[in-house]
Symmetry: C2
Subunit: 355 residues, 2 copies
Amino acid sequence: MWTLMEEHLESIGIGAGILGTGGGGNPYVGQLRARQAMRENGAVEVLSPAEVPADARVICIGAIGAPTVGVEKIRDYQSYYALRALESFLGTTATALITNEIGGSSSVEVVVPASIAKLPIVDADGMGRAFPEIQMKTFFTYGIPCTPMALADEKGNTAIISQAVNARWVERLARSLTVQMGSVACYAVAPMSAHQVRETAVPHTLSLARDLGQAVQRARNLHENITEAILGVCGGKVLFQGKISDVERRTTEGFSRGKVSIGGTGEYQGHQMTIEFQNENLIALVDERVVCVVPDLICLTDDRGEPMTTERLRYGFRVTVFGFPSPELWTTAEGLAVVGPKAFGYNLDYTPLEL
Amino acid sequence: MWTLMEEHLESIGIGAGILGTGGGGNPYVGQLRARQAMRENGAVEVLSPAEVPADARVICIGAIGAPTVGVEKIRDYQSYYALRALESFLGTTATALITNEIGGSSSVEVVVPASIAKLPIVDADGMGRAFPEIQMKTFFTYGIPCTPMALADEKGNTAIISQAVNARWVERLARSLTVQMGSVACYAVAPMSAHQVRETAVPHTLSLARDLGQAVQRARNLHENITEAILGVCGGKVLFQGKISDVERRTTEGFSRGKVSIGGTGEYQGHQMTIEFQNENLIALVDERVVCVVPDLICLTDDRGEPMTTERLRYGFRVTVFGFPSPELWTTAEGLAVVGPKAFGYNLDYTPLEL
């Protein structure tokens, strides 16, 4: 157990921003909201999965929508409204919360309701990174019910998807509500037991995000090599370095979709990387050869180790592109069926990142 | 009190089809489903508003979507699923049901859950006709809460709009869910007391639909004048007679929208009527002069008195166009704000139909 204090938010923002593979929402915007909630309501306890009491009811909190909108739209405590709407639907209360993804602002969205409702959060998540669609969670992939799910906006609308054919239908219904709610909403989803969390969540990812962020901060302060600091925490490797030469992006159907082209510099001079994204980076090619593909992580930072989320991508930025291996829960047949390259429309088998 | 038997369904289909002002869904399709439910579960009692017990919980049942889709898409007992989802959300059960609108298939949709759940229905509705949008109900206009609302499709998805800024937001969220659910869904909405039903519903409209249908059937059988039979029950007047010369129609955003042109015949020879619709007929012009506008009823029949709903409109059909005065609950300032010409984007004040 550790206590998540205001001072951790910046580290987690950096770490989760990197692990968010370009998505999960702008980390800075998420931090501001979490900081405000903690100032008003206090710090939040973090339990490792092993520490979650056997009789716990762990509710998953997330944000849904287009990061391009999330960075502009004012949100208040809508994830807390979603939690309360779900609890009232269930006629029961949560005893702990868990984030749906470790990525960008989403990883600290859970801090808002946790702080207000004085609930601990579990040091784990349902992705081990960020993914664009609601059904793309280890929880649902390994048998946790995807309903009921409560959604809330900042205006005073709440809706509950009480029953759905499958998790893809939850995504479909939730996405259409989200578009109406202004392309960003927050949600709370059916409670899990401690056993279910231990079986289906990607463990220790909040600590990982914090450690990664702290390593970057330390390297910055000590003028050490930031790239090595990142690799030291996450494993993985550098896929490319260069300057953004083009960004195509559109905010459509509740997503940011597009691709970014990067002209190589240094040892990558003369080569070109292209990365395609749907909120998150999905596939990276160097000179049209695939070098990394979902569910492996494709993560961009600037030269200060600051995460480059997809909505921040601009012509001229210098970036380092990292590849990190996927959590093991995603590289099974069940996992790849949900988040493998084919699930995103690529006619491609998953080949693990060469390390 | 009277008992709604299988034999009433055809009369109600004709009557509600006419009163539905082109919308409310294809009456024949609705009848088939109601007939099936009644064969399996028995007839349904109908209470006049005065007969509803003081402690009743009356839940409103409706269908939402595009009639063009409703006529093709197979539905099962999804209005019953919506009722059960709402009851389970509320932790209480209905003691009576009421239809949201008297029009087309919608007016007998309520028979399905009433028959299955053995509940009486109230002889009244929330429109006194049909309207395309959910907020367009006398209930909501006169202060009945518009949430929670449960929606269900035939696939096994249910959702609940648990809280909304206002009834327009309910429409917006429900419509987007409906599009995902396949452009037709059924809903159940917050219970009313007997007093609330008596204050806010348009009374006796189910009997009116039955009587109107029976008058048409009688005139057909006795080879009497069908037009006069219709006017004898509803009041109002004939606005036009002629042959459909053009239909523009598109199914978009969960609605059928378009317009129909009618070349006059008989005493209307040399004139042209144009009717614009959004599921329901909204405005009728003769030679570009407005002759009838919402909330007054613009109702088309063929020469057998069979209702011409907007999805049946075709080139070459001979039609009679009736104008009937609006229920009084709609011609107040509050009513016109919700369903007057301006609510549909016409820069026009409401002028009552000249009789």
